[in-house]
C-alpha cells in the first residue's frame, strides 16, 4: 500500500485542466493502480485538513493548474510545495498566467467594481463589494495586486503547456514521473518546435511571407488549406510551441498562442510582435502605420496567454 501519492489542485482556474485529467479516460484508472490520488477536490472527497496532516515531502508530485490571483492561491501553492517532491505547473495559467493574466492590464479593484457595482444587471444600492467590508465567519481571500504565474510564487519543477493541455501530454508527464524518466528540472513537457513546423498548411508557405493588409476573422473568408499568415490573418504559430496537434488549425482557425514560447524566448508577446512586424510589406512609415492600425487589440492578441509571464509591468 505504499503507492506514490499524487495531488491535483486548482488556483484561478476554469477547470479545463481538470477536464484534461478526466480525459485520460481509462488511463486514469490505470494511474490509480500505480499511484494514490491523495487530493483532488474536483473529483474526490478530501479536505484541506487532510493535506495539512501529511508529512512534508509525502506527496511524490502535485499538479497545480490555474493562475496565482488571490492570497489563498499563494498559501496553497506553498503548502503543496512543502508536501511534494515535485511540483508540475499544469496548463497555460500556471505556466504563463493564461488569459487570467490579462487582468494585469488593470488594477484588481477595477474588476471588482465592474462586476459588483457597475454591471447593468446588478442591484447593489449599498455598494457592497465582497470581501471589502467586515462580516462574521470565514473571510474571503483577497486578490493580489497582480496575477502571477506559479513559478513567480514557488519553485516549479516542470511545466505542461496548453489551455487546456491535451490529455496525452498530461498522461506522458504523470507516467514519466512514475517511471522516473523525466527530463532535467525546469523542462517544458512538450516538443520544442514552433507550431508552424507541425502545421498541416506548412507546405503552402511562399518563399517569402509578406503582408499588405491584416484581416480580422469575422470580416473575411479564407482558403482552409493555405497558411493563415499568407492570407493576412494573424496566427501565432511562428512564436508558439507545438504539441497541441494543431487543434485550432484543424478547425480552420488561427493559433492564439496557448502553448507559450519556445525554449530560450523570454517574452512570447514581444517575440510574436517582432515576427509579425517582419512580415509587413511596406517601407514608407505611413503605409506601415496604416497596416499596423488594422491589428485589433494587439495586447490581447499577442499576449493572450502570456502577459503575466511577460516583461511588461502591470498597471499600478
Amino acid at each position: 500500500m505504499n503507492k506514490p501519492k499524487i495531488a491535483l489542485y486548482w488556483c484561478a482556474s476554469c477547470g479545463g485542466c481538470e477536464e484534461s485529467v478526466i480525459d485520460l479516460g481509462e488511463d486514469l484508472l490505470k494511474l490509480a493502480q500505480s499511484a494514490e490520488i491523495i487530493f483532488w477536490p474536483a473529483a474526490m472527497d478530501a479536505r484541506f485538513s487532510d493535506l495539512e496532516a501529511l508529512a512534508d515531502g509525502a506527496i511524490l508530485a502535485s499538479l497545480i493548474n490555474g493562475a496565482i490571483q488571490q492570497e489563498d492561491h499563494v498559501s496553497m501553492a506553498r503548502l503543496l510545495r512543502k508536501k511534494s517532491r515535485y511540483v508540475i505547473a499544469n496548463g497555460s495559467c500556471a505556466h504563463i498566467g493564461g488569459v487570467i493574466g490579462l487582468s494585469n492590464l488593470h488594477r484588481p479593484e477595477e474588476a471588482l467594481q465592474k462586476a459588483f457595482i457597475d454591471a447593468e444587471t446588478v442591484f447593489n444600492p449599498s455598494g457592497t463589494i465582497p470581501g471589502s467590508e467586515p462580516f462574521s465567519g470565514c473571510p474571503l481571500p483577497r486578490p493580489l495586486n497582480r496575477v502571477r504565474t506559479l513559478d513567480q510564487v514557488i519553485d516549479v519543477d516542470y511545466y505542461i503547456p496548453g489551455c487546456p493541455p491535451p490529455p496525452e501530454l498530461v498522461k506522458n508527464a504523470i507516467f514519466s514521473l512514475l517511471e522516473n524518466s523525466l527530463p532535467p528540472k525546469g523542462g517544458i513537457l512538450s516538443e520544442n518546435r514552433a507550431l508552424c513546423r507541425t502545421c498541416p498548411r506548412q507546405g503552402t508557405l511562399p518563399e517569402r511571407l509578406s503582408v499588405q493588409r491584416f484581416k480580422r476573422v469575422h470580416e473575411t473568408e479564407w482558403n482552409p488549406l493555405q497558411c493563415f499568415l499568407d492570407q493576412g490573418i494573424i496566427c501565432l504559430g511562428p512564436s508558439t510551441r507545438g504539441g497541441c496537434q494543431c487543434r485550432c488549425i484543424s478547425a480552420n482557425m488561427p493559433c492564439r498562442g496557448c502553448f507559450g514560447p519556445l525554449d530560450g524566448v523570454r517574452d512570447q508577446g514581444a517575440n510574436a510582435v517582432s515576427f509579425i512586424a517582419s512580415l509587413i510589406d511596406a517601407t514608407d512609415p505611413e503605409t506601415i502605420a496604416q497596416i499596423i492600425s488594422e491589428i485589433a487589440d494587439p495586447a490581447g492578441l499577442f499576449y493572450r496567454y502570456s502577459l503575466a509571464a511577460s516583461l511588461i509591468k502591470p498597471r499600478s
Binding site: 476554469c14 462586476a115 484543424s250
Partner: protein
C-alpha cells in the same frame, strides 16, 4: 457558546467552494453559508478585446462547459453584427452543442454527483468517486461509459477543434463545413449515445427508484424546496437548449412570464452580499432583497429539473416517454424535489443523444455554405446571446464600438440563478440533519448532496 463547522473545500464540483455551519448553544444550526471564494474578473479583462475573439476568450470562464460559453458568445456576435448563420451552420452548431450537453451531463452523472446515488451516500469517502464507481460497476461498464462519452467529445473535436477548447464559432456561421466523414462518425456515435443514455436511465431505475432506502431520498423533505423555475423552450413550449424563448413558472406551476432572451434584464436582477463572490439572481418583480433566509418568493431555479418543469414535453420520442414517466412518478408538477435533478439530467442526456442523431441525419447539414459575412459595424452596437447551458440559462451581452472592440460585457451565468436556492438547500439539509451539535462524515456528505444535485459550477458563477 456558538460552534462553527467548516466543510472546506467542498468536493466533486467545478470550482472553489466551502460551507460554514454555525451552531447555537443548543447545538442547532443557526446559519449555513455556501461560500464561493474565487473571482477572476472576466467582465473587466475582456473589455478592449476584439469582438470576434469573444467566443474563444469567454469559453475560458469554464473548462467543463466551454462549449456553452462559446455558443452563447457566438450567438451574441450574431446579434451584435446583425447576421444570421446559414441553415447548415446553425445545424452544425446545434450538433456540436447537443453532443456537448450529452458529455457534460455524463461528467456529473459518473464523476461528480452520481457516485452519491450510484454507490449510495454511505460508502467510505475514499471510494465515493469515479474509482470506486469503476470498482463497483465493473470494467466493461466503465469502459463503455468512458468510450461513449469520448465519442461525443470526438464529435465536438472533429468540428470545433477540441472538446476542451472549441473555436469554430464566428458571427454569422462556423469556421468550416461538416465533412461527410465527420458526419458519418456523428451518425454512428449518436447510435451508441442513445443506447448508453437508455442504459444509464435503466441503472437509475434499478439503483435508485427500486431501492427503498434510495428512493426515499428522492422524496425526502430534506431535499425539497418550492421555488419558481426558469428555462428556455421552443415555439411549442418544449425543451430547447440552443434557441427559444425564456419561460418562468411560479411554485404552483402557473405561467409567470415568457420573454425573449434579449429582455432578460427586465425580469431578473443580480444581488451582492459581502461574504461570497457569487452574485445571486432573483426575480425582479418580487420587489425586495431575496437572500438566503429571506422570503422565498424571489427565488427561482434553473438547470435540468427546472427545464423539465417549464417544458410542455420533449420533441424526441424516447426522451419524451421518460419525461412522462418522471412526471407521473411525482404526480404533481412542478417537481420541487431537489434530488430529481439527477433524474431530469439523465432524461436530458437521452434527449441530447437523440437530438445529435437527428441533426447528424439532417439532409442539409453537409451544405458547404456555412458563413454569412457580417457588414462592418459603423456605429456602437450591442448584442445578446443566450442558450441553455447544462446547468441553466446563460446570457452573454456585449457592447462594441464601431471598430468591433468590446466596450463592455455582462455575463449572467447558469449557477448564479441557482445561487439562492443552493444556499437554502444547504441550510435546510444542515438544519434538519444536525440537532445535537454532532456532525459526522455521514452528515457532511448528505449536506454536500444538497448542492451537488444542482451540479453547480462555481468558476462559471463568479467568472
Amino acid at each position: 457558546m456558538t460552534q462553527s463547522i467548516l466543510i472546506d473545500p467542498i468536493t466533486r464540483i467545478e470550482g472553489h467552494g466551502k460551507i460554514e455551519i454555525t451552531l447555537d448553544s443548543r447545538g442547532k444550526v443557526s446559519e449555513a453559508r455556501f461560500q464561493v471564494p474565487e473571482f477572476r474578473g472576466f467582465e473587466k479583462f475582456c473589455e478592449g478585446r476584439a469582438a470576434e475573439e469573444m467566443p474563444i476568450l469567454t469559453q475560458k470562464i469554464c473548462g467543463v462547459c466551454p462549449t456553452a460559453h462559446h455558443i452563447a458568445s457566438t450567438k451574441a456576435l450574431d446579434d451584435l453584427f446583425n447576421v444570421s448563420p446559414p441553415l447548415a451552420a446553425k445545424n452544425i452548431r446545434e450538433l456540436v452543442y447537443h453532443a456537448f450537453i450529452f458529455e457534460d451531463h455524463l461528467l456529473h452523472v459518473y464523476y461528480l454527483g452520481g457516485p452519491d446515488w450510484l454507490l449510495g451516500p454511505d460508502v467510505p469517502t475514499s471510494q465515493r468517486n469515479i474509482l470506486g464507481l469503476a470498482d463497483r460497476m465493473g470494467k466493461s461498464f466503465t469502459t463503455l461509459m468512458i468510450a461513449t462519452r469520448n465519442k461525443a467529445r470526438e464529435i465536438i473535436a472533429r468540428i470545433a477543434g477540441s472538446a476542451l477548447y472549441p473555436v469554430f464559432g464566428l458571427p454569422g456561421g462556423v469556421s468550416k463545413p461538416l465533412s461527410a466523414e465527420d458526419r458519418n462518425f456523428a451518425l454512428s456515435a449518436s447510435d451508441d449515445m442513445v443506447a448508453f443514455a437508455r442504459l444509464s436511465l435503466n441503472l437509475f431505475e434499478k439503483l435508485l427508484l427500486k431501492r427503498t432506502s434510495m428512493s426515499e431520498m428522492m422524496t425526502d423533505p430534506l431535499y425539497y424546496q418550492q421555488t419558481h423555475y426558469l428555462g428556455m423552450v421552443d415555439d411549442t413550449g418544449r425543451l430547447s437548449f440552443y434557441d427559444g424563448r425564456i419561460r418562468m413558472i411560479d411554485p404552483a406551476g402557473t405561467l409567470h412570464s415568457i420573454f425573449e432572451a434579449r429582455d432578460f434584464s427586465r425580469h431578473l436582477v443580480e444581488q451582492v452580499v459581502p461574504w461570497t463572490y457569487m452574485k445571486t439572481l432573483a426575480l425582479k418583480d418580487a420587489g425586495r432583497n431575496h437572500f438566503p433566509g429571506d422570503a422565498p418568493d424571489g427565488i427561482y431555479r434553473v438547470g435540468p429539473l427546472a427545464r423539465l418543469n417549464v417544458s410542455s414535453g420533449i420533441s424526441t420520442p424516447l426522451a419524451n416517454a421518460e419525461y412522462e414517466k418522471m412526471m407521473n412518478y411525482f404526480g404533481n408538477t412542478p417537481v420541487h424535489h431537489t434530488m430529481a435533478y439527477h433524474w431530469a439530467r439523465l432524461i436530458e442526456v437521452l434527449y441530447a443523444a437523440e437530438r445529435t442523431a437527428e441533426l447528424a441525419g439532417d439532409s442539409n447539414i453537409l451544405c458547404a455554405e456555412v458563413r454569412n459575412l457580417p457588414k462592418p459595424l459603423l456605429t456602437e452596437r450591442s448584442g445578446i446571446g443566450a442558450c441553455e447551458a447544462p446547468r441553466g440559462t446563460l446570457f452573454h451581452t456585449y457592447q462594441a464600438n464601431s471598430h468591433a472592440i468590446i466596450l463592455k460585457l455582462n455575463l449572467v451565468v447558469a449557477t448564479q440563478h441557482n445561487a439562492a436556492a443552493i444556499c437554502r438547500s444547504v441550510f435546510q439539509a444542515a438544519s434538519q440533519l444536525i440537532s445535537d451539535g454532532q456532525v459526522t462524515e455521514r452528515i457532511t456528505n448528505r449536506i454536500e448532496m444538497a448542492y451537488r444535485a444542482y451540479d453547480p459550477c462555481l468558476a462559471c458563477a463568479t467568472h
